[in-house]
Subunit: 389 residues, 4 copies
């Protein structure tokens, strides 16, 4: 049950036989630290070690953490995840290998598939493409600063996927007008792509190919303009029509990537050094990648981070920010600068090994539809299920 009524509950009522009363709550699976751990674990031993160091509460001094291992829970938890840790192989419609494995949120978690999936793929194929959730300010940043840093993975290149619709949206066009040609809006919104391209090449030190994810509404003039703007940046920009023609539609793109991967040595680097203070890491991400001029937080948040610097200071930061803008204001389109990033709350994910920093008013739990999806689901007498999608 995906029931929001379980988000905040009181448990243990009914007398001592039912334990002690406490406030508690359910997270959905993708928001659980266990999901982040599963995705970052390099093997069973590491999985168990990470599960064991989840902080599940504090002793009565309110300072000393209680770890899952203090409850001897890591063995049973790892046993439950016995099969979950194995990458599962699916195939595309053209019978190519694809691995779909792990699904941590891209805001309060790091938004990438599992380390075991990526490493397995690297042993099975000559070239491996993996996806990172949301824009490159969130997905790529976490892929690099969290997943690559923890696992030792080193990407060879980045494919920056853009749509002409989205760029026009960043040019401040209303949603209902996005399917109409608008060169001015495209030109205006291009600054968003430019900022991502700049971040990838300058701050991560990686070669980058721009992929235009084609829509039938895209006009020749728009495609030409976008390619011209990319060329001005020195960026390769390729129209990809895989949605229509499958593998063939992405062949040019693939060839371009292979060219880079085979012939260029990336000067790969993380956005921040692990020895920076936690607050310093947040400031670096916000100023370098988001274009912010300032990061603020109330005294409690700052004190918490300063306290964590002692024990968890080497942890990377997992930013929870809106995916709609480089800033924390979802309506600030394009490539905003000079804005303030307010860190509302910070959370320790000790098992995952990162600090979540919640920036701005982002919702960390998805809303639910007014009419439950369950109402449409049914099964007939022959066992055929309907209404799932």
């Amino acid at each position: 049950m995906n029931d929001r009524a379980l988000r905040h509950i009181v448990v243990g009522m009914g007398g001592p036989a039912n334990g002690y009363l406490r406030e508690d709550g359910y997270d959905i699976v993708v928001a659980s630290e266990v999901m982040a751990i599963l995705c970052l674990a390099t093997g069973r031993a590491d999985l168990k070690e990470r599960l064991g160091r989840i902080v599940i509460g504090y002793k009565s001094d309110r300072v000393t953490p209680v770890y899952a291992r203090d409850l001897n829970a890591q063995g049973a938890m790892a046993a439950i995840l016995k099969d979950a840790i194995k990458p599962n192989l699916v195939q595309t419609l053209e019978n190519n290998i694809a691995i779909i494995h792990g699904g941590p949120f891209a805001n309060i978690a790091h938004g990438c598939n599992t380390v075991t999936a990526t490493k397995t793929a690297l042993k099975l194929a000559d070239y491996v493409v993996t996806e990172a959730g949301f824009g490159a300010d969130l997905g790529a940043e976490k892929f690099i600063d969290i997943k690559c840093r923890m696992s030792g993975l080193k990407p060879s290149a980045v494919v920056l996927v853009a749509t002409i619709r989205a760029l026009k949206f960043h040019g401040n066009i209303a949603k209902e007008d996005l399917n109409t040609e608008n060169l001015a809006a495209l030109e205006q919104g291009f600054v968003n792509l430019e900022r991502h391209y700049h971040n990838i090449t300058q701050h991560y030190g990686l070669p980058c190919v721009v992929c235009i994810n084609h829509f039938t509404f895209d006009t020749d003039a728009e495609i030409a303009l976008l390619q011209q703007k990319c060329a001005d940046l020195g960026a390769t920009c390729i129209v990809s029509k895989h949605w229509a023609t499958g593998g063939a539609g992405a062949e040019t793109l693939a060839q371009a990537i292979i060219n880079i991967v085979d012939h260029r040595e990336p000067e790969f680097t993380y956005v921040y050094d692990e020895n920076l203070s936690l607050w310093g890491k947040i400031e670096t991400i916000a100023t370098k990648l988001y274009g912010a001029s300032r990061v603020t937080a109330n005294a409690k948040v700052k004190a918490q981070l300063a306290e964590w610097d002692a024990d968890y200071g080497k942890f990377p930061i997992c930013m929870a920010k809106t995916q709609m803008s480089f800033s924390t204001n979802p309506n600030a389109k394009g490539a905003p600068t000079g804005h303030t990033v307010e860190i509302r709350e910070v959370k320790l994910a000790n098992g995952a090994g990162f600090i979540v920093a919640i920036a701005g008013d982002i919702m960390t739990m998805p809303g639910l539809p007014k009419v439950p999806a369950a109402e449409r689901i049914d099964i007939d007498n022959d066992g055929r299920i309907t209404g799932l999608f």
Copy 2:
């Protein structure tokens, strides 16, 4: 998680986005009405129909039921049970077929495996043996009055399993003395077996074979005495050593049962008529089978049953009573008579199609060990799980 802290909870806290506050609670799977429904459903259509008529609450008039189907929940629930409803086939060490399917509690539910399992077995084998939980006052009674009545199953004979240890226990011997020969205690405790035998043959109208489930502690004199006592009743009594020698050890028993099944026509009958009032059904079970002289309940319980007579009057009763005695006093060994059965509480299981009557001080939820079983569970680096049993 089998966590007692979830037995009684408050959900929906944290404001209107999380719904309305309400008191709620988790049952363990075997105690859920969904388990009882799964076990009684004759097919997918019946499953869905039963799930849909679960009473999940009452309207603000506190009288009109709200059914699961009012929430359109039955389709999704049945979809989740898509595979669960299929009987699953396992095999014995001698490679015979066994079907293990469904596990409702034998106190607040009816304690038998699924109807689909029994019917499948009947199509696959010449003779089918099924087990009913606890003593024949609980297991056999519910098998007959609930499962057989609802599904149209008609048993041919009953195997009444007894151990010499248990009969001596009913002869009021301390647990630590049960492995020592004690003919007097065996004779005294025999009244318990006699009552069960009487119930089966007189009240259910079924032929009955007594099976002595052999222990190495059983002495020849004890076995001889028990067989003599059975003979006095006119009952076939066979020592079965399947625990030691497998199928061969039960062959005599099997042959005895086949003899009966093939040659005797049972005069099978339910213990009570479905047209009796709910209270009348409870009285019938208590006086005919338990030897009670009286059934009591407070005014609220009686009023509730009287009210249910209108809409649910044809439902059978699912008695929740201690399995330690024919009475509600677990220490009343043998075959007590003249006792009072107090019905503390009654519950409507509208989807399952029965009324649960809680008799005496029985616990309807199992306790949990002081040290969680989870602490012993572990998995090694090769994926081998340990500590499950």
Copy 3:
């Protein structure tokens, strides 16, 4: 606020600054053990001592009591009751002294005014009349076995107040017919008065005057019949019209009482000895006074009483039973015999110094009207309050 929503609550939510979560609840003042204590305390020192020994919970072993004095609460509690313990003097319309002081419930508490009020009155007047709540099976029994026993008070006589209406009601007449003459019903219902008279004279050893609390509906024939029936018992029976003519209307009654008090030495006795077991005391009350043939309780209740026998065995019992009948069935009019009294629950009131035994389905908390009384209350611009009654 007399708000039923406060009966059962969870407190301490919102994090450690707000303490530990626990289930708690509000009682109305008259149901509080503090009220019972205030009424039984013989002075400030005794008040403080009793407040200090209230059991407010149990240690984590679930057995060792935690007393209010362990929290040093008795001083502050007694300070709050500084003025409350002083009997407050009011006057009747004829300018006689009346003391109205203390109001414990007559079911879960002992239903009498304060010891300090009664003792003060005894120093101020030659004759003191005090009222005990409900019928003599509840009010008089608790007055004698709890209040007198604890305080050393010794009553000289009992005035048994009856109405012809109530006796006809015990003769099984419908409420709407009570104002019509019905000698047969009166005669039939007289057994109720007879039982009370018997209890008072035989079990408490006190002289008893019957007072007919006159109603205008009472017919001469009814009064004559009642007086005749009383005479047959050997009881003085006097019609009292104080409701109409004030003190003058009760003069004959007063004179009769004075006659007894001045000239007869009561052989006053408690209903049970303090050295009886707690269960024995309950049985004595139920069989001697209520006419019951049997007292039952589930194993948990019996075990609780047996456990309390060690530390609280000398405590009197405070029965919480319906005031509508000698039995626990409010519809059993007259003087029922042979009935069973079921003790559903027992509670320790260690500060008050008694054990509450809840018999049958009695409600220990009053219901609330559908329309809150507060809706009618108002105050005008001159400060005059309306709607209080």
Copy 4:
């Protein structure tokens, strides 16, 4: 009971007889909107009107307010406050009149005594002095913008009370050094007094006398310096020793005030116009009085204020800010400028008739001591209470 466990509770548990579950909480009396209402009400009719318009919740559309008058609660609430609304007269040690009446918090409420007290005093005396809680940025501002505006009161002059200790504290001296002469610190901290003086004379348009609340630690040099600094501002500055010599010690001060009141016509004005938007009012207070350069709030807070502008736009603002600084940072001593005031939360006090704006990390509920004050409270056998203070 001042029990923090009651701050956040769940009520209505235990089934429908106890109403609907909801999250609720207790405020301490001074934090209640009822206290603010009592203090602002101009009479019984106004009291009742204000109580009736308290917003107690919202309808299921989450937008339409439910008022206390919709529950018919205002009459009963006003009846309870029957006596509380009457100003209570006490006397000083010199037998002068003093009225102590009402005590709303000076952060989440307006921190002044009742309107009825002030108006009563104005009818009884030639000159009335009233106190406003905390510094003039909080107390005087709310006295003027809330209490005077609502009641039509017009002050004639302001006495700005300062201590040499406090000014040295604003000169950044440690607490333990405050009793030592330190002219440099006094001079440095004087900017705090200067800002208050400026606010009072320029923004409220009121004449202002500075009163040095004398301490024995004050040195002649310090007093001379302070008087010189005040003279430079054009401000009268008088040393007052009422703490030592009673009325005589304040006579010079009183005479100075009378001089002003009798001979100067104030150009009294509010700090902001009632027609400004709610956000505009907050900005005005923060920039004019606090010296802030910017006010921030998250989108939710701003949207809330904008929504309230329609129905409650004329309401004054009740700022909840630390009393330790002109800014929201309690450590920013002196007269900080250029700071940012963050509005964390806003609350509608519809009965009181103002909007509470919570600025910075202020605690709106006082903490409690580790050892409850109740532990020290006691009463002896003669009724003497000890340990209250």
